[in-house]
């Protein structure tokens, strides 16, 4: 239990640092902003109480906001995926449910399941994030383009991380 907590705290700090120090400086062709930090939400244990997920999402987003100087923007979108994650998990659960002691990872539930899970949550997150950022439906097409490309990029990064870092 303590080990789980420490691992999560370290992961939190590493992901935030990676996001604000490296990935926030990447802006490819004006469309693509990878947001890798939500991996933390994705990797939270199945047993996390739903409300804890929401609050952690808020705090995670807020930490990113502190550095990106956009108070509330990431907090709002990350809190939202923290909120919907339990419903998504229930929606895409395998027939036998989730095994105790397992984590939402490629290692446990396979590439397809994890891709579906990641795509859904990352897309929702980016949808809210980019629309909140643009805060208008005037440049609808442009915002949609950004959402799609950034989602693809973020999802690729997260999938890669599953093979490079979180192998087990």
């Amino acid at each position: 239990m303590i080990r789980l907590l420490t691992r999560n705290i370290v992961r939190f700090l590493v992901l935030v640092a990676l996001q604000v120090l490296v990935l926030n400086n990447i802006q490819l062709s004006g469309y693509i902003n990878p947001y890798f930090y939500i991996l933390f939400i994705l990797l939270m244990p199945f047993e996390t109480p739903p409300w804890v997920g929401t609050v952690i999402g808020f705090l995670l987003g807020l930490s990113i906001d502190m550095f990106a100087n956009t108070p509330g923007l990431h907090a709002a979108s990350t809190a939202f995926i923290g909120f919907v994650r339990p419903y998504f998990l229930r929606y895409i659960s395998p027939r036998d449910g989730y095994e105790p002691g397992s984590f939402p990872r490629v290692f446990y539930y396979g590439f397809n399941w994890f891709l579906k899970y990641t795509l859904l949550l990352v897309f929702v997150h980016h949808l809210i994030l980019f629309f909140l950022e643009a805060f208008s439906f005037a440049s609808f097409g442009h915002v949609i383009m950004r959402i799609i490309f950034s989602t693809l990029f973020s999802v690729s990064l997260i999938m890669m991380s599953q093979y490079l870092v979180f192998r087990k």
Partner: protein
């Protein structure tokens, strides 16, 4: 109360989300200039509908401005009317060029303050010495006499209202041309009294009363009102005629100041006559 607590407890996940999300959005709108501005703009679009409706109502009040423009135009037209010119015809032969010389000059003024409910009522208009207003110039409204200029300052003038018992207006009956003096009794701002009409002539209810044109202040034939009641005074030989005014001085917004170009000439002549007789 217990039910409420149980309801919140059961849906604690949702309520916590709601609180957290509200906090995030508050932060967003509070600390991001762009979002705050856009949020206020969007709010503005919603309130725009309200303003649109209120604009329609407000437009109604701008009719006042439109009125002003029309009144100015009207003054201009009055200036070109034949009755603003004094005829110089001295022969019976009709000569159609340079026979008219301008006698009455009209110009428009806005009413700045007005009263009808006092005993001695005055108006203030927004034209003064600078604009050519002089003491005892006549003031008319869209349909009748309003008063006479009392005091003039640089930019404003006070007008002694028809609704002031100190003001006597030379008025006559349109059909018989008998003239008398019109005066307010200080009671009802809709009615004035016409005195000094000899009681041997016929006065009917509904007869028109107009200015006599004898005063050098007002041109003749400006309508004033209609006779509503004509009683013969027992003691003397004159009618006491109640006249309903056409002019609603209460709702007056614009007036015409009337300048008689020949006034000094007429007055000088009359004074000379009185002095030498």
């Amino acid at each position: 109360m217990n039910n409420l607590i149980r309801f919140i407890e059961r849906n604690h996940h949702f309520f916590i989300f709601l609180i957290v999300e509200t906090a995030a959005l508050l932060l967003l709108f509070q600390y991001n200039n762009y979002h705050r501005a856009t949020f206020i703009n969007k709010l503005g679009a919603a309130t725009g509908i309200v303003y649109e409706v209120s604009d329609d109502v407000v437009d109604f009040f701008y009719l006042r401005k439109a009125n002003q423009e029309f009144a100015e135009q009207n003054a201009h037209i009055l200036n070109t009317l034949k009755k603003s010119y004094k005829t110089n015809k001295i022969s019976y032969r009709e000569i159609y060029d340079s026979v008219y010389e301008k006698q009455w000059r009209f110009f428009v003024a806005s009413v700045v303050s007005n009263s009808v409910n006092k005993q001695n009522n005055y108006l203030t208009i927004d034209k003064g010495r600078k604009h050519g207003v002089k003491q005892s110039m006549g003031i008319t409204g869209p349909n009748g006499v309003v008063g006479v200029v009392r005091h003039v300052s640089e930019n404003y003038s006070t007008v002694i209202s028809l609704l002031n018992p100190n003001f006597h207006l030379s008025a006559r009956l349109r059909n018989t041309k008998y003239f008398g003096s019109l005066q307010w009794d200080g009671i009802d701002p809709r009615f004035c009294w016409l005195d000094d009409i000899p009681n041997h002539i016929d006065v009917n209810v509904g007869d028109s009363v107009e200015t006599s044109g004898f005063s050098a202040i007002f041109p003749g034939q400006i309508p004033i009102g209609k006779v509503v009641e004509a009683s013969k005074d027992g003691r003397n030989n004159f009618y006491h005629i109640k006249v309903k005014l056409f002019m609603h001085i209460q709702s007056l917004t614009h007036v015409y100041v009337i300048d008689n170009e020949f006034k000094t000439e007429i007055e000088e002549l009359e004074n000379k006559t009185i002095t030498y007789d």
